[in-house]
C-alpha cells in the first residue's frame, strides 16, 4: 500500500476579504451547504472556512487531476463520528479518487498567526488489494 500526502495553507484574511467582497456567492462556489452551516456566519467563520479551503486544496494535490478538476464543493470537510474532521468526496471528486484507487482520506486542520493549514493523508490501493469497507 502506498500513502499519499497533500498539504496546503490559506491566509485567513484572504477568506475574510472574499466574504466581504462577494458574500454568499463566494460561499456557494467553494463550500457545501453542510460546511457553511457548520462554520456559521460569525467572526470565526473565516478561520474555519480557510481551514476547509486548505483541506480541499490538499485533497486536490493528492488526486491526479489532468484536465479534470472537480469543483471545490465536491470535496467536503465534515465532522466525523469521533468529533474530528473527515473528508467526504462527492460526484466527480469521488469518481476520480475511485478510478485512481485512492481511499481512506484522513485530514488534520490547524490555524495560527493568521494562517490556516490542512494536511491530508490517503491510501492508494494496489490492483491486487480489495477495497476496505
Amino acid at each position: 500500500m502506498k500513502v499519499l500526502v497533500g498539504m496546503d495553507i490559506q491566509p485567513i484574511h484572504e477568506v475574510e476579504a472574499s466574504l466581504t467582497n462577494f458574500g454568499a456567492r463566494y460561499g456557494r462556489l467553494i463550500y457545501t451547504a453542510h460546511e457553511l452551516r457548520d462554520c456559521g456566519a460569525n467572526a470565526r467563520s473565516a478561520t474555519k472556512l480557510a481551514e476547509r479551503f486548505a483541506a480541499k486544496e490538499a485533497v486536490l494535490k493528492i488526486l491526479d487531476l489532468g484536465d479534470t478538476v472537480p469543483p471545490w464543493r465536491f470535496i467536503e470537510v465534515k465532522e466525523g463520528s469521533s468529533g474530528g474532521p473527515e473528508i467526504a468526496l462527492h460526484s466527480s471528486a469521488a469518481d476520480l479518487a475511485q478510478r485512481q484507487g485512492i481511499q481512506n482520506f484522513t485530514v488534520s486542520l490547524s490555524h495560527a498567526g493568521g494562517v490556516a493549514t490542512a494536511a491530508v493523508v490517503a491510501e492508494v490501493m494496489s490492483e491486487t488489494e480489495e477495497p476496505r469497507s
Binding site: 484572504e14 472574499s18 467582497n21 462577494f22 456567492r25 479551503f53 484536465d67 478538476v69 469543483p71
Partner: protein, 84 residues
C-alpha cells in the same frame, strides 16, 4: 489595449494578489507562475463575473481558464463578451 483587456488587468490588480505589477505581465505570461493562488483565482473569477455581468459555468472552472490574460480573454469570448 482593448477595454476588455484593461478591465481584465484591473480585476487582476484588485483581486489577484499578485506579487508583481500586473502591467509588467504580457498577455501570455503564466499567472500562476507569477504568483496567482487558487484562492485568488476564485476572487478573480467572481470579480470578472461582476465586471462583465456573466456567470462562469462549472466547465470553465479549471486552472487553464485563468492561467493568463489571453486565456481569460478567450474564456470571456466563449461566454459572449466582446473582446475587440
Amino acid at each position: 489595449m482593448s477595454s476588455t483587456d484593461m478591465k481584465i488587468r484591473d480585476v487582476l490588480t484588485e483581486h489577484g494578489r499578485l506579487p508583481v505589477e500586473v502591467e509588467t505581465l504580457s498577455d501570455t505570461d503564466d499567472l500562476y507562475e507569477s504568483g496567482l493562488t487558487s484562492h485568488a483565482s476564485v476572487n478573480v473569477m467572481l470579480a470578472l463575473e461582476d465586471t462583465f455581468d456573466i456567470e462562469f459555468p462549472d466547465s470553465l472552472l479549471r486552472k487553464g481558464t485563468f492561467e493568463s490574460v489571453a486565456a481569460i480573454r478567450a474564456a470571456l469570448a466563449s461566454l459572449g463578451v466582446s473582446v475587440s
